[in-house]
Symmetry: D2
Subunit: 297 residues, 4 copies
């Protein structure tokens, strides 16, 4: 069924056969300017997690953070000294807030717009790398707060969200929006501790939400999980939302965001739209970038 | 003389003895909202450079970019496959666009607000790390385009910019602004190739501009070089702007930005102010972060 | 009691106040030549483990192994092509075969020979770094096979080995030997899977074996665990063998060796001595090195 | 002509169609035992260079060495503390002493024994990785000292060595030997400073020496350069010795050794043979390993 879903929602060629940007093309100047006009109070809310350097049940490959020059080399007798460090990140890890490039996933050997997987070589992606988002992603963000809808603090790992629920939040999603789905992951982690998300899963969108994405036509989709409910129901199509969004529709994904702060800020104001800015690093040939998106209310 | 300059412009205690954020405190909601109102056309201009992975005269310690799973492992016979990569960055390198944390520089064994260098240990900074900017830096950006003022394409390495020139650009700098100084570095590199910036230097602000910073009171200072003219004139105080701004005044610095695109966009519109967003990674104990700041006009 | 043990076995000044090599000084040319004469059959047995790149219960910080140029870039149409990779290792991890430098451990702020911990700065060790073993460690190796002595396949995590047992193996340990203690760790892992060695521990030498080390006077000590029984009995002195050997006696340690192959080879021959060669990387200021020691029988 | 040389010296199938070890098969127990018998004085001479962490003309991609826990965290008031570090190496860099795996080079899309380059994927080599040398390389080493033969301190970059010269050294090379060629590179660097070896080249073997290798049939070849004279004379076959040795004959190569110490030790004794031990790290799927080979005289 996932294969049919993929075909039904595929939008290759929409912006021409050579397009590498997909739904980022929806972020027109008009929409960007309109999003900026949403700012009322001037409150910035971070949606990235701290880079996880400590091993944990949900962090089997920790981020490297190494000091390379520290304060022990400074002295009161010397006018000038400094500190410096090194950071090493494999951004697709399951606790790192990151933006997936369109080249991150292949379906039947093809990435977005039908380009062959062979264009992603051992030295980097020649097509649809993260560089296509190098000018930043700026637009109208909307938060769909599912725990609030359901009257719970968080969804349990493995719980699926339906497209009806996405609509039932009452937030009107418009073409070109940056849609963020809150599942309460960070609240659960704070209360119960880390769990192995590969084994025990994550709450997320049911596969059928791919049609909803097709209909609503957002520019970007993000979640505090990985958008997909995990584990998926079809081993051959383990993450259908990733597959349909990144490969079929050209929708960039934001994984592992921190959305509890934003959910609180929105609930407090009764307002679920805001200016949203993602500033990926310009990694040549990159398959993604660690990011710290900022919502501005 | 630099020591006197440092004392004369020092603002320790301004936001209390425990403050770690310095001039970021100037980014009040009012200023953030006011900055958002500057957006007219909805044009996003990136101010970060591509992460420099290739060795070059100005890049002795290249960024690591390693593919860890590429398209060669995908097949048309398999529904799902993926690509992934690793990035390793020592952000204070001299071609990397980055935000300096206030703990990055010490003067006589002390960082901003008088905290001892010993609070930056071999496992990270306990005070004034990059985490204090974790909510993002959002404000009114202004571009001071020095080559345009002088009627040249670029300044030569080692050329100093005076505070009179900063004023002569005609851009009114206000308290809490994010001030960006364009020297034409990227244009020169594009035309003449890379040079060893440690040996041959960079155009930047003369030490006396520290007083200008004190008077204008910006939230953040940035440049396409390192703000300081290089090499400096006093070996004991090699980068006085860094020392006075980061340590004395608590002004975060943006180094090695790419500002030619922004300079062109501003000149085209005759408008030198814009919404400016910096979204540093939340690196626990970090001395800085690679960034790709976005100007929105 | 550990403090007394430390004082009782301390050998600071034995090779002069400036010595940085400790018991490596026992590896005289005579002993090296004598060790070479032990080779009979010409069988080389590796005592290093494969570098562990996969996350596991005993591997919370996996070794990085990244291909940086792979076969996907080669072609039959091109005469020449190549592959290359990158390896990143924090060698003191608990599954990595490594040699501890004498600067790796401090007791009351001092390393071997009384040098202050401050000589190990955030840019490396100025004293007793791994460089002192840069010429390689070559000598007579002897294997003390404790599971064989006890008639079991392996010792359980947390089981302590006494000095009486070390003697009871019947292997005569001589001054300047490289002493290897087999606990059967690899056999247990192969049979039962990985366990969290920090939580559940490792078999190893009881603290009192420090006196045995003092009396036998080996050049180097190694084990398939970390020499110390884990967890230790005194939280303030968590790894007394490390503390007494590295800091007090200047004995370099080999941790996390693979000794099951060597144990089998020795048992087969009824011979527990061999030429043993350790070739650490020359890491300037390093606190240790990943190694793959070779026993030659 | 290189293509003919390659065909003329190719030895695919010599140890069967599935062999991955090539000439390492020549290191029989008899040869290993015989090599051990060469040790007379018990002098160990390191043949690896210090891992080059500083940027230099010949080091565009420096080794990473990061302290991850230093002495600044220790205290006299605490019984136990420690230091630790991280090392990151792309071993095929041009100043790093390393062992090339047979999968490191491809000729017309094939590696040693005709295996396709596609067996080296973006996650590692499935054939002829460095693991095949995991038991260590132990054998009779012989040093061919070309500067001594020519009566100079060093050869200039780009100078070719002929097979006649290899013979003229008077050192009898036997089947299964580990042949080391000294060009004086380290002496030149010490005297004149670093040079860009990619641009200015390295002294090394003329392509015709491939036939000499075929005739002499060593187990391993090493040099203080990269064995090949650089730059080569045929752009399509830039490193014919690498191509013929690694791919055609299955001879592992040791690049960028430090051989001045060994040359001095041999000259002093008038003896050019010794026990030689290489202990590569067991890097799963690796294309090579940094090494510090030890000659024992």
């Amino acid at each position: 069924m996932s294969a049919e879903l993929f075909e039904a929602t595929k939008r290759w060629g929409r912006w021409g056969p050579d397009d590498e940007r997909g739904a980022l093309n929806l972020l027109t100047p008009e929409r960007v300017a309109g999003a900026a006009a949403l700012v009322r109070e001037g409150i910035a809310v971070p949606c990235g997690r701290p880079l996880a350097t400590a091993p944990a049940a949900d962090n089997p490959t920790p981020v490297l953070h190494h000091m390379i020059h520290a304060g022990d080399l400074a002295s009161e007798a010397t006018a000038f000294d400094w500190s410096a460090d090194f950071v090493g990140v494999a951004c697709h890890g399951n606790t790192i807030s990151h933006l997936d490039a369109l080249c991150h996933v292949f379906v039947e050997g093809k990435m977005y717009n039908g380009a062959p997987a062979s264009e992603v070589t051992s030295v980097g992606a020649q097509r649809s790398s993260i560089e296509v988002a190098g000018s930043g992603i700026v637009g109208r963000g909307v938060l769909l707060d599912i725990p609030r809808l359901r009257g719970v603090d968080w969804l349990e790992p493995g719980e699926a969200i339906t497209s009806d629920e996405l609509d039932a939040t009452g937030v009107a999603v418009e073409q070109g929006d940056i849609v963020l789905v809150h599942t309460g992951r960070d609240r659960r982690r704070a209360a119960l501790g880390a769990w192995n998300t590969f084994v025990d899963g994550l709450a997320g969108l049911d596969a059928e939400c791919a049609r909803w994405l097709y209909d609503r036509d957002p520019a970007v989709l993000g979640a505090d999980g990985v958008s997909d409910v995990m584990p998926g129901s079809d081993p051959a199509w383990p993450i259908p939302i990733h597959m349909c969004a990144l490969v079929g529709m050209g929708i960039h994904l934001l994984d592992n965001l921190r959305l509890d702060l934003l959910a609180d800020a929105c609930a407090e104001r009764g307002r679920w739209e805001f200016l949203f800015v993602v500033a990926p690093l310009q990694i040549g040939g990159g398959t993604g970038s660690p990011v710290n998106p900022i919502a501005i209310l």
